[in-house]
């Protein structure tokens, strides 16, 4: 069946969004038999210009503007392209997609994302509470809701510790001066609450998972990032065969009744060997194309789930498969930029 799929998160510069990896998965092993529609926030979202990947690109309003404007723009795009499925790939979009999911469904546009009451449980400020209540190992964590709580919390956790903004950014602190410096920086940027967490001497692993509406794990690719950029983003990684990572991920998603894709971030404490949950990103990771090498095309699985099909669990991911991220330059005529700037859309001739 030919399906038209719209994907967000097309900007792949020094901090690549997952959208292009998702689209490459759809084209694997053969070109996708339907339209691929890129949904971009900026004329210079780089992936728009990767001509072989997309048939059409449309600008959409930023998700924090208004859900009404967001929905209206998707309705317009749907009228032009008849979208069957949307795969959102950015954390910042999830709330708006959760909000408009019923309207999208009534338009005939399917999504497969976890509902708000589930993602609320794994927000940075709630994750420790979830772990505590479900007996999931995690590094000692204190949520700071008032600056007056800071000193006692630091004393309890001890150094080194991580200080994390409620949405983004995290810094290692080795002294009280570090704590004060980063607390102010994060408070001005993201406000309170803020998260203090014990920094473990550890190894970091990620597992990209897809589970169904019962929280049953259907596919998962565990990896170790083998090279990081200075922003902490993977530019090389290898797939693993690690039953402890799989079991912890399976247990977490079942407890949450998670439905949809996610990236589970896990630390292995070098001292105790214990695996600790540190974060769950409610979307595919930017390295998702690696999943095709491990014989688990998870984006295609999400499309089937979105379309209401029954999906069986996949065989374990193949281990020892590597990726290296490679930056390249895309060249295009000025009228591509013009079309997007003036009309908010671009249609490649090859898709006609």
């Amino acid at each position: 069946m030919s399906l038209n799929v719209a994907v967000t998160g097309l900007h792949a510069a020094d901090n690549p969004a997952p959208g292009l990896g998702v689209i490459r998965c759809l084209h694997h092993p053969e070109k996708w038999d339907g339209k691929i529609i890129g949904l971009a926030y900026d004329v210079l979202d780089t992936g728009i210009y990767d001509e072989g990947l997309l048939g059409h690109a449309y600008l959409i309003p930023y998700p924090n503007t208004s859900s009404k404007a967001f929905l209206e723009r998707l309705q317009y795009i749907h009228q032009q392209e008849k979208i069957d499925v949307i795969i959102p790939t950015l954390d910042s979009e999830l709330t708006v997609f959760q909000k408009i999911a019923p309207e999208l469904k009534s338009l005939g546009i399917a999504t497969f994302i976890p509902p708000k009451q589930i993602t609320d449980r794994i927000s940075k400020s709630q994750l420790a509470e979830f772990c505590e209540s479900e007996n999931i190992p995690y590094p000692e964590t204190i949520v700071i809701k008032d600056p007056g709580e800071l000193k006692a919390a630091v004393k309890k956790i001890g150094f080194p510790l991580m200080i994390k903004g409620v949405y983004y950014e995290a810094y290692t602190c080795k002294s009280m001066e570090d704590v004060h410096q980063y607390f102010e920086l994060l408070r001005l940027k993201w406000g309170l609450p803020m998260i203090l967490q014990k920094k473990l001497d550890s190894e970091e692993f990620d597992v990209c998972c897809v589970s169904d509406t019962n929280g049953d794990l259907l596919g998962a690719v565990p990896i170790r990032k083998t090279r990081l950029t200075d922003k902490g983003k993977a530019w090389a990684a290898v797939t693993l065969k690690n039953e402890q990572l799989m079991e912890l991920s399976r247990r977490i998603l079942k407890k949450l009744k998670w439905s949809g894709p996610c990236e589970v971030e896990i630390l292995k404490d070098k001292k105790t060997g214990e695996y600790n949950l540190i974060e769950i990103n409610p979307r595919f990771p930017a390295w998702i194309f690696l999943s095709t090498g491990a014989d688990q095309n998870l984006p295609k699985m999400v499309i089937e789930l979105a379309m209401g099909k029954t999906v069986s669990p996949m065989a374990p991911a193949k281990s020892g498969i590597c990726f290296v991220r490679h930056a390249t330059d895309l060249v295009c005529p000025m009228d591509y930029i013009e079309n997007l700037t003036m009309l908010g859309e671009l249609h490649y001739k090859s898709s006609e």
């Binding site: 692993f205 170790r224 990684a237 690690n242 020892g320």
Partner: protein, 82 residues
Amino acid sequence: MSEIFKSEVTLSENGFLFDHGSGLTYTLNTTGQFIFRQLQSGQKSKQIMEKMLDEFEVIEETARKDLDDFFRQLNELGLIDL
């Protein structure tokens, strides 16, 4: 896979070792490869020692020290359970 290993491990013909559980890689010299392959085929320390004396021009004391050192390193790297 021999039960001594904590996770699946692959040793290539060139001596490149990949631990499928952790994603870490190592390079082994000729002696290391020899011992590792014996471990993979389920040989115990005493049998490996005898094979080392057959294979290499080495006195028993040196072979024992090399074997103990290698086991200790594998253990420290989390590759085997001693």
